[in-house]
């Protein structure tokens, strides 16, 4: 009883010590201390925690991996793994403790695994106690505590005590694991909390320092021989590219470049966003089937250089360390891979990657992901601010330049060219910046080629351009099953910036800018209708982060403003020009009128003087009288023209006193006014008036009346008569007649002459204001070029029109005044 009591007391005492040890341990190394307690308590040489991993190993029966060990006076354990056929393996599978002893150099039961190691260590006895390390394990046992003894064997009592003591281990193990993991994550959190984004040029270096600090904590915790963090920086990295932010080699150095950053197993993690663990690199050949099945989409042997690693394992120089196992967890943010945390295990502490390590690494990766997300967002905001400031500054200068240069010829082309230079500087990722604008004819036209790129990037791609393709015709787009420029159309129809990181993989067609791989297409939507797109293109797969999106959008809006302003200024300039031209025209015409008026006044004055010299009724007197009368009438006509021109030029409507008039009375009035002026005015033309009683062509009797203002008709007729006299050939006839048209709904007066030829092309232009035929200018330089325009306006006020018929085959020019006819 005393012995039993002693054993029981020993057990309680061990439990107390174990509890005290676990309660003050916050590192994984504490597990080694726990094992050492077992060694000392049971007067043993060493103890090991073997953990099983199913499906690995020969015949897929699983394999035992060393998770913790304590052997007196040894840093390195004698072995790292065991097959399930080993004593400990059977112990776990059967959930039965096992005890083996050696007597006379012979074991009491067969030892299949590492007998030579046991011989070398002079171990005479060992005990394996199955335990359930993971509470979630489906099996009653998933690990063993194996205690090794030199010099003698474990007694039955010790065996029983060990069974009891081993039952305490899982709780202690989990307690230490939990506390250590908590401490680990707290430390990681502390490092991350103090490493927020600070707006300095060294911000990224600071971030790398923080990551190095995290790796230091993790490496120390798990005794990793190497640890590395890869992260994707959206501001600098192309899509799917991850920079090596930090790495740690606590006990060694990366003397061999067997690992390519982002390639191999890490590359697989980054690509798939799944965790990867590799139990025993040296035993890969034995476990090949397991890995191939578990990671079926990964080319294991070639990708991670296992063969080289194994070869190196056997040729390691003294003191060098071979990484036993490998863990890589993705750094995920909203299910998007932002990077990876890769670790390799060696030396003390855990020797293989188990679920606890994967869980702790995943937690650390989550924290890093949150921190990195925050960091990159702040970085993004800062760069957005800088970009916005830069853009604003550039645009401020550009706006100033624009204001100064609007009035210059071709200003918009220069503005677009300088604007593209601003875009290029604002978006350095783009090799080519182009503006494509809609033309009225459903075409999108490239407006200006950008100047050659001068900004430099570390991996700056070459400038790309394709001047040959400057027009895209969209008029056929609706009919074609493949729309030729749907990237543009998409951007314009959705009014949103379209990013194509890799255009070749996009369903959107993009303009063929040679060598360009990725595009950002920002719509340029001006209210004036000058729609188009601003295209940023790069020969590299640029991520086009939010900065570029914002910049592109902002720049496109600015361009739209320019275009709208340009349209308005054009309209304003046009109006101003018209006004100036109108003012100038009026001034010129007034001078012309003045001149036209002076001549008859001078003649009249001279004629009046001469009348006094001659006796009334004589030939000389009659000539002077005719000259006086003619010039007075001419002055009156010019004055009337001047009066109407001033009214029309000021935009005042012509006040017409329209009434129904017979054709006869209208023609008689014109005859009276013209007879003296032109028949007796020494102009050498014969006037022939035809007074119809019925419509000659329509056979309408009587001749319909016309609707018009007699004074305006007289003025219009006088202008036509004056033209007929001025521009007809000498000794020809001028014929004035009337007819009805359109079944009497219209009546027209025809003024026909044989004079300067009027071509069909020229005829419509003669009614335009200030238009003068070339031949007319040669034969009558005093003309103002407004006579026919004014006649046209006068006719309009009478609901009529002026028609000018080109010279016919017989050489007749025909000017017709059309009026409403009474037959309507």
């Amino acid at each position: 009883m005393a012995e039993l009591a002693t054993a029981s007391e020993r057990g309680r005492s061990f439990a107390v010590v174990l509890n005290q040890l676990s309660s003050r341990t916050d590192k994984l190394e504490g597990i080694r201390d726990v094992l050492s307690l077992y060694v000392r308590h049971f007067n043993a040489f060493g103890a090991a925690l073997w953990e099983v991993a199913e499906d690995v190993g020969p015949e897929r029966k699983g394999r035992l991996f060393l998770q913790a060990q304590y052997f007196e006076n040894r840093d390195e354990p004698p072995f790292y793994h065991l097959p399930t056929s080993s004593v400990s393996g059977r112990c776990i599978r059967l959930n039965e403790p096992a005890r083996r002893s050696r007597k006379n150099d012979s074991w009491d039961n067969e030892i299949e695994t590492y007998p030579h190691v046991l011989d070398e260590l002079e171990i005479d006895s060992f005990v394996s106690i199955p335990i359930q390390l993971s509470p979630d394990s489906p099996s009653p046992a998933d690990a063993t505590i194996t205690v090794y003894k030199k010099m003698g064997e474990f007694s039955e009592e010790q065996f029983d005590s060990l069974k009891d003591a081993a039952l305490l281990f899982p709780a202690v193990y989990r307690s230490i694991q939990a506390r250590a993991s908590l401490i680990l994550l707290k430390r990681v959190q502390t490092v991350l909390r103090t490493a927020s984004y600070i707006e300095t040029p060294q911000a990224l270096d600071k971030a790398k320092e923080a990551m190095a600090g995290v790796l230091e904590i993790i490496s120390a915790h798990f005794q990793f021989v190497e640890s590395t963090i890869y992260l994707h920086n959206p501001l600098t990295d192309p899509p799917n590219v991850y920079g090596r932010i930090a790495e740690r080699w606590p006990w060694s150095k990366p003397s061999r470049d067997s690992y390519v950053p982002g390639d191999g197993g890490t590359g697989w993690v980054l690509k798939n966003g799944k965790p990867l663990r590799f139990f025993d690199m040296a035993r890969f050949a034995d476990d090949r089937d397991y890995y191939r099945e578990k990671y079926s989409d990964m080319e294991w042997p070639d990708r991670v250089g296992i063969r080289e690693e194994v070869e190196r394992y056997f040729k390691l120089p003294p003191g060098d360390i071979f990484p036993l196992s490998y863990a890589c967890v993705p750094i995920l943010q909203n299910r998007t891979v932002k990077g990876a945390l890769r670790c390799r295990i060696s030396r003390n502490g855990p020797y293989h990657v188990d679920e606890d390590i994967m869980s702790a690494l995943a937690s650390a990766a989550e924290m890093i992901a949150d921190w990195w997300d925050h960091w990159t967002r702040e970085q993004q905001q800062h760069h957005d601010q800088i970009a916005a400031t830069s853009i604003m500054t550039s645009l401020s200068l550009a706006n100033r330049s624009v204001i100064q240069n609007w009035h210059l010829t071709g200003a918009i082309a220069r503005i677009i060219a300088s604007f593209l230079e601003i875009c290029r500087r604002s978006v350095p990722q783009a090799d080519v910046v182009e503006v494509w604008l809609h033309e009225p004819r459903a075409r999108i036209v490239r407006k200006a080629d950008q100047p050659e790129r001068t900004a430099s990037l570390a991996d700056a791609p070459r400038p790309v351009s394709d001047p040959s393709r400057s027009v895209i015709d969209t008029s056929q787009a609706e009919q074609s099953p493949i729309r030729p420029n749907n990237a543009f159309q998409y951007a314009l129809s959705t009014s949103s910036v379209l990013h194509l990181a890799e255009a070749g993989k996009s369903p959107f067609f993009v303009p063929s800018i040679a060598n360009a791989v990725s595009f950002t297409v920002a719509p340029v939507i001006a209210r004036t209708g000058s729609n188009g797109v601003l295209v940023f293109a790069s020969s590299a797969p640029v991520p086009w982060p939010a900065t570029i999106s914002n910049a592109a959008s902002f720049l496109a809006e600015q361009l739209a403003l320019y275009l709208a302003a340009h349209q308005q200024i054009l309209a304003f300039n046009h109006a101003q020009s018209r006004l100036q031209n109108s003012v100038q025209e009026q001034a010129d015409l007034l001078l012309d009128f003045q001149h036209q008026l002076r001549t008859p006044i001078n003649i009249a004055r001279n004629s009046a003087e001469q009348l006094r010299k001659y006796a009334p009724g004589g030939q000389e007197w009659a000539a002077a009288f005719d000259a006086l009368t003619s010039s007075t009438l001419r002055a009156g006509t010019v004055a009337n023209n001047l009066q109407f021109f001033v009214s029309l030029a000021q935009g005042k409507p012509v006040a017409a006193d329209n009434r129904w008039l017979t054709v006869d009375e209208v023609l008689r009035g014109i005859e009276r006014a013209s007879e003296f002026l032109y028949n007796r005015g020494a102009f050498g033309r014969q006037l022939n008036f035809v007074f119809p009683t019925a419509s000659p062509s329509m056979s309408i009797t009587p001749m319909p009346r016309l609707h018009g203002d007699p004074n305006l008709i007289a003025l219009a007729a006088d202008n036509l008569m004056d033209n007929a006299v001025k521009y007809s050939f000498e000794n020809t006839s001028i014929e004035i007649r009337a007819d009805a048209g359109n079944y009497g709904r219209e009546v027209y007066l025809s003024f026909r002459n044989q004079g300067l030829r009027i071509t069909p092309e020229e005829a419509p232009d003669l009614k335009k204001r200030k238009h003068r035929g070339k031949l007319a200018e040669v034969t009558s330089p005093e003309g103002t070029g407004i006579g026919l325009w004014m006649v046209s306006e006068l006719m309009r006020s009478m609901d009529g029109r002026l028609e000018i018929h080109p010279t016919d085959a017989k050489g007749w020019n025909d000017f017709r005044l059309y009026f409403r006819g009474s037959a309507q």
Partner: protein, 143 residues
């Protein structure tokens, strides 16, 4: 007096007739041409010009309308017809004929090389005014 011959270049026939009568009544012989083309032909065809003086309208037509009218050379088209009279005056000067510009235009608008290049008489002064202005020239000619 009767040996003084004056050239009138005026495209308005009424004015030309009245001016002719005024000059003839003052004892001068008058020749009238009405277009710049006629003047050019006169220059081309005549060796020595018999005119002591020319009275030239400023704004002249090139020619009268006719079915086969000759068009002016490009340099005249470019310069325009506003200064047709001035072209005539300068051509006459090379032939030793003095010219007086008789115009209804504002004298300030006539692009003379110097103010003294040609005498300008405004038509508003009438034919009497013109005769007064040419008296000094006539006296000089009569010697």
């Amino acid at each position: 007096m009767s040996n003084i011959m004056v050239l009138i270049i005026e495209d308005d026939k009424i004015q030309a007739n009245e001016l002719r009568k005024s000059l003839e009544s003052s004892g001068m012989q008058v020749r009238h041409i009405s277009t710049e083309l006629q003047f050019q032909q006169l220059i081309r065809e005549s060796g020595t010009l018999p005119f002591a003086l020319a009275i030239v309208d400023m704004m002249l037509r090139w020619t009268d309308p006719s079915p086969q009218m000759e068009m002016p050379p490009p340099e005249i088209l470019a310069e325009g017809f506003y200064v047709a009279g001035l072209r005539c005056c300068r051509a006459l000067r090379t032939r030793g004929v003095k010219s007086i510009i008789f115009t209804a235009l504002d004298p300030a608008k006539i692009p003379l090389l110097t103010p003294e290049e040609f005498k300008i008489v405004n038509k508003s002064r009438g034919y009497e005014g013109l005769l007064k202005e040419i008296q000094p020239e006539l006296k000089q000619l009569r010697g």
